[in-house]
Amino acid sequence: MPEHRIRGKVWILGDNVDTDQIIPARYLVTAEPEKLAPHFMENTIPGLASSISRGDIIVAGRNFGCGSSREHAVRAIQGCGVSLVIAKSFARIFFRNSINLGLPVIEADISVVEGAEVSVDMEKGTIAHGPETTKFEKYPEFLKKIVDSGSIINYAKEELLRQQSQS
């Protein structure tokens, strides 16, 4: 089961950050998070990937992850060691991919400055930033099952086992 409390230092990104920015297509010749990570956002914010430390949190604007279906976008972020992405809203496939690969994502509108510390309680649905606390909507029951399994693969394996034991 993944950690319910996530605490980390914030990196700020804007609106409509698309998958071509997150990981340019020329690097899609591998799906390994560690190999993708150095190129995270390299066209838009050179040097960002190497500045991020394990456990850091991304806080983005609207429609984060729009564009292609490349799961490599999530893998690149995971490869950088990012523990959580908070955005005002997410593009659809990016959201699915994050849930399915076990990268926690939260839809919330918080105002923080780069470098600030935030602390999130996934169970309670709260984000503490400075003196403020923002509530966010928790995952629906079905998605929570996938998140709690750690990934869609684990979830599918458990389901397949359950079906086998029934038949």
């Binding site: 799906a31 066209n43 279906s69 490599h72 809203s89 399915n100 690969l101 998605l143 599918a156 397949l160």
Partner: protein
């Protein structure tokens, strides 16, 4: 409470989940096909191999297209992985170089996409098959791998936004102009998580190829899927190619829509998306920019209809000396047709370059990547920063006739301007 009727997407998800479902429900549904390409396929295969089950072979479609024929050793290794998988399991639906093309074109051309079908594809433009009345949804690689083993996936049933596009379309207005106008109106987020349904006399007037273009670029508005009611034209297209029997599913008259947007088709004109965002749309008559490259291809506008339109502009003319024109048919079939109809000759005589099918430069892969500061007008679907090459290159999106005319003029121009000059 009296339930109102259902939208087409609610009907398809009800059928495939075996429950009576409405927008907002999260369900598990049986998919008819799951498609992956050479970029999204290998991670799907890794995910699948962890499940320890046999693959649902008849549901799986493997189409290498993004970096094939391979551009380098890394991409060759990637597509080899897909090929090895296909041979290991004796996959019935693997489309090797020379027998396939851009994944979405192949899915429609080879009859996988049919009205009422539910198709998942590990590519964001999977929504294209909505042009034939299918519900088709872009997903990620890992979940595609799970479908390889289970045949099922979770979905949230989307709300539907309906566009009523009525009135006569000017001859110069193509499917691309309709969808770019829609995206400019609702923005990159306007269709997020939604099914975009296009109806009305203008949509009926358009052929299947233009409808596919409209459904295809619904992705740029963030849509989950697109839907165009199937009709006689759809039936004619499916004739002799559909792999399965199909059912015409359409929304009920009293279905609940999230929003209904009316568009007067007679006001539409050829448009261009300015670099940076597909939503950044201007009438072509207001754009005057020199270009280095003109590109016709992709799942959006690389069909035979598109190449015919381009050839009609190019016939007897020459590509501007400082401009290069690259034409990439979206499938082997389109390529063959373009040869036999004499279109390749017309383009070549005009000084254009024609290659076999590949996604190639559409995603900045190869075969037409842009250098620093270069400008390209393209019939593709995305013009984000660095999409087709260097981060300081720019991409303008338009219909293929405008691309062809611009290739001749060396700057962005209306086809009517070029056709005026004999």
């Amino acid at each position: 409470m009296v339930q109102t009727g259902k939208t087409a997407v609610e009907k398809v998800f009800s059928k495939k989940s075996g429950r009576d479902v409405r927008a907002g429900s999260i369900i598990e549904a049986e998919v008819d096909y799951v498609m992956v390409n050479d970029i999204t396929g290998p991670p799907a295969m890794d995910a699948f191999s962890q499940l320890g089950v046999e693959p649902k072979k008849d549901k799986i479609v493997l189409i290498p297209d993004h970096f094939v024929p391979s551009k380098d050793i890394a991409s060759a290794t990637q597509s080899k992985k897909m090929r090895d998988f296909a041979w290991k399991y004796e996959m019935p639906n693997y489309f090797e170089v020379g027998r396939g093309g851009v994944c979405h074109q192949v899915m429609m051309e080879k009859g996988f996409a049919t009205p009422g079908a539910l198709i998942a594809g590990a590519d964001s433009h999977t929504c294209t098959y909505g042009g034939l009345g299918a519900i088709s949804v872009g997903i990620g690689s890992t979940e595609a791998g799970v479908i390889f083993g289970t045949g099922k996936m979770w979905f949230k049933v989307p709300e539907t936004v309906r566009f009523d596009i009525d009135g006569p379309l000017d001859e110069s207005v193509e499917g691309k102009d309709v969808i770019l106008s829609v995206i400019s109106r609702i923005g990159l987020e306007g269709g997020r998580y939604k099914c975009l349904e296009y109806r009305g006399s203008a949509i009926q007037q358009l052929g299947i190829s233009d409808r596919m273009t409209i459904a295809n670029m619904s992705s740029e508005a963030g849509a989950k899927c697109a839907f165009i009611p199937p009709d006689r034209k759809t039936e004619a297209y499916l004739e002799g190619r559909a792999r399965n029997s199909w059912e015409f599913m359409d929304s009920d008259m009293d279905a609940t829509y999230e929003q209904i947007i009316r568009i007067d088709a007679s006001e539409l004109e050829p448009v261009v998306s300015m670099p940076g965002s597909p939503a950044n749309v201007k009438p072509v008559s207001e754009v005057d920019s020199e270009i280095d490259q003109a590109y016709i291809g992709s799942c959006t506008n690389g069909r035979i209809e598109d190449i015919r339109r381009a050839a009609a502009v190019l016939k007897g003319r020459k590509v501007h000396p400082r401009t290069r024109l690259i034409v990439v048919p979206s499938s082997q079939q389109v390529f063959e047709d373009a040869v036999s109809e004499g279109l390749v000759k017309i383009i070549s005589e005009a000084g254009g370059y024609v290659s076999g099918p590949t996604c190639g430069a559409c995603l900045g892969g190869y075969m037409g990547v842009l250098g620093p500061g270069e400008k390209c007008i393209s019939s593709t679907n995305r013009n984000f920063l660095g999409r087709m090459g260097d981060k300081d290159s720019s991409v303008y999106l338009s219909n293929p006739s405008v691309v062809a005319a611009s290739a001749v003029a060396g700057r962005i121009i209306s086809p009517s301007e070029v056709l005026k000059v004999a």
